[in-house]
Amino acid sequence: MGGALQRLREDDRGAGYLAAFIVLFSVLLLAGVGILVDSARILAADRECSSIAMEAARAGANALDGDLLRDGTVSANPAQAHATAAAAAGAFVSHAGGSLQLVTVSGSQVTVVVTASVNPWFPLMGGRTVSKSATATAERDGAS
């Protein structure tokens, strides 16, 4: 029994192989988990940007032209829509860590572009900037 134990202790066959395997395996594992975690964060930022852009565009499209409305026409007031959308987007992105890129108004159509940059926690993927655009149109519900 003692001899067997002694032999086992002195036997270092395969030890290097196993150690190398464990090191390599751990590095690959960490890399895999890092890619998973960081890509999930990028996707979450993507979704957040898209909802911010949508809500800001909707806020802009809410600024209807009062004079036209009295005649029964639903149409956005371009200057007011632009200001409202920009203000809303600015307030929303400042809470979420994104940045407002562009607000355009054409007719009753308000388009907002919002970007956010994600710095990865694991040094495998470079930093990425996600950009999302959303458009909202002022129209009477049910009829265009």
Binding site: Y17, F21, V37, A44, E55, R58, A88, F92, H95
Partner: protein, 147 residues
């Protein structure tokens, strides 16, 4: 005695070839199993985070359709839990929803925060993590009543 099984038995005694592979297997199999669980955990946390972000946006929109705090909270809570259930994200104790607004009138901004305690992986000792996201929506200026 020339039967093949007996010869095999005689050769096996004292032969330690391949024992290193057995030792390696003892280490590698739990390691690989742990790796799979870890990927599972990271993946689940990632999806849960994304779903919570989405649920917050949906809940904010639902809350902005209401004109007072009580009904807005009810609408946001039901929208958030429906979104999370629909996407298969389980929150321990249900999602927590907090609704606030600058003013409950046209042009006011509704802020909805959704908190979800996503499950961990018990086999890994990975704890459940609290994920939260918030979203904002503007209350509509014009609402068409009747049609």
């Amino acid at each position: 005695m020339t039967c093949p099984p007996c010869r095999l038995g005689r050769r096996r005694r004292g032969d330690r070839r391949g024992s290193a592979d057995v030792a390696a297997l003892v280490v590698i199999v739990p390691l690989a199993f742990g790796a799979v669980l870890l990927f599972f955990y990271a993946g689940r946390q990632g999806t849960a985070r994304e779903e919570v972000t989405h649920a917050a946006a949906v809940a904010a929109r639902a809350a902005s359709m209401e004109r007072d705090a009580g009904s807005a909270h009810a609408a946001a809570a039901s929208a958030a839990s429906r979104t999370l259930t629909g996407s298969g994200t389980a929150c321990a104790g249900g999602p927590g929803v907090v609704v606030s607004a600058t003013e409950w009138a046209a042009g006011g901004v509704v802020t909805v925060s959704v908190t979800c305690r996503a499950e961990g992986v018990a086999e890994l000792g990975a704890p459940s993590r609290s994920l939260s996201a918030s979203a904002r929506a503007t209350i509509d200026q014009f609402v068409l009543y009747g049609g």
